[in-house]
């Protein structure tokens, strides 16, 4: 009996060592591995229109659609989605649970310390959702900071949380939601006064919720336009550069605009910015 246990432990140890070795090999030429494998695993947050997972598991939305077109050019025909909260995307990339994150993860200096981005692929304004008539007259994050009675909800680790904290909103005023629809529910039930998220994401949620008691505040003044890109593990610089080259082709041919404009994104706004505007040298 003891012998079997010892054997099992040994086998597990060997397995663990083999896995580590495999992971080390995997990082050498990620793109080659993906070509061989025939698909890439991407992290998405399921926040339409940025990313959207259909009932049958097909991943779509503006960011994955751009990534799918780019990856097809690079010889990887398929994308498989893994739903990851925004706050967990960077750890997922670093731990190589996913090959890339394509979900409208904004390019932010703090994030650039940990991961690398492609050139921007989606830009959009920020928005709030508030009770109809905007009873507390909330138009900016500063308005929330000025009234400590107010509470807001957004996702943990999101750009919106950082915007709020940077502009003087207290930690106690922010109640993070588990997923955006739950955040809207909290607003409907009066658990919070303000719901903050990307403009198009919020607009899409409100359209689906179709509740006359809630209204949209867009754009939120005083915060920069958020620009997202596909995100990669920092060791995958080659992969990222190949991705950038293919993305540039896509932008030039006009195919890019055809993909993102039906989702409500402006190709013009996106083409006007570069990664270096947000994270020089990333």
């Amino acid at each position: 009996m003891l012998k079997t246990v010892r054997k099992l432990v040994e086998a597990a140890a060997i397995g663990a060592v083999a896995l580590t070795a495999f992971a080390a090999v995997g990082s050498a030429g990620t793109l080659d591995d993906l070509r061989k494998q025939g698909y890439a695993t991407v992290a998405v947050a399921n926040e339409p229109p940025y990313s959207d997972i259909k009932g049958d598991g097909y991943v779509t939305g503006a960011a994955p659609d751009v990534a799918r077109a780019v990856m097809a050019k690079l010889g990887v025909p398929e994308l498989k989605a893994s739903v990851v909260a925004y706050g967990s995307m960077i750890p997922a990339l670093l731990a190589r649970r996913v090959d890339m994150a394509t979900s409208g993860l904004y390019i932010k200096p703090k994030r650039c310390e940990s991961i690398i981005y492609s050139q921007p692929d989606l830009c959009g304004a920020e928005a709030f959702a508030v009770a109809a008539g905007n009873p507390h007259k909330v138009l900016t994050y500063e308005d929330i900071a000025a009234n400590p009675e107010l509470t807001m909800t957004t996702c943990a680790g999101c750009a919106e949380e950082a915007y709020a904290l940077e502009r003087g909103v207290k930690k106690e005023q922010i109640k993070v939601f588990t997923d955006p629809p739950s955040g809207i529910k909290m607003l409907q039930q009066g658990r919070v006064d303000v719901f903050a998220l990307s403009g198009l994401g919020t607009a899409d949620l409100l359209k689906k919720t179709n509740d006359p008691n809630i209204e949209l505040v867009m754009p939120v003044k005083g915060v920069p336009m958020g620009c997202a890109g596909a995100a990669f593990n920092p060791e995958d610089k080659e992969f990222r550069d190949a991705y950038d080259a293919a993305l540039a082709e896509l932008k030039e041919s006009g195919e890019f605009a055809k993909i993102i404009e039906p989702y409500g994104f402006s190709a013009e706004a996106t083409l006007a910015v570069k990664r270096d505007d947000f994270c020089p040298g990333n």
């Binding site: 909260a85 750890p91 588990t178 529910k185 658990r191």
Partner: protein, 222 residues
Amino acid sequence: MEWNWQVVHDVLPQMLQGLVITIEATFIGALLAYVLGLALAILRMSKSRVISLSIYWTSEFIRRTPLLVQLYFLFYVLPDLGVFLSPLAAGILGLGLHFSTYTSEVFRAGIENVPQGQWEASKSLNYSRYQTMRYVILPQAIPPMIPPLANYLITMFKETPLLSAITVVELFNAANIYSNSHYKYLEPMTLVGVFFLIVSVPSAYFAMWLEKKYQRRSSRMP
């Protein structure tokens, strides 16, 4: 992967606040579970079949559905029906309600273990049902129940991270919120584990000690 004490320093104050919430939720939830559980056990033994059966099916229903689903129901559905609970209140109610169906079984077993003769003796003394319970049955039934009840307290303590799903910032959620914005998981999650251990290992030994103590006493009883 390297251990960073600066992260520990940054996250610790938030986690200690979370620990207070965790302990609060555990103890108030346990109190609720004990009181409700005793009530369920007594009602279950009611002579009226309607009461006994409806209690039986209600507790089966609560016990056979996941706590997480019940928490979501209490938090997101009840307000639509006009019952508005704060996150912590919904969490405590959910924990207490869910575990009362387990503790009620402990109470029921404890009560049923009191020899039949004790009931008959109470009857011959013309005790009312309340007096029988209060002065004869429960004083004998409760001591052997204490160890299993203490074990449920520890189980409830370990279930509290579920409350994070309804936005309660308890120990785990406090660490998770920090992790989400700083991309550091090693230190916060290790600390969560350590905190749970610090509380649950001594409690487990305490429960074992209780078990021994009450075993001895009951064996000494004639």
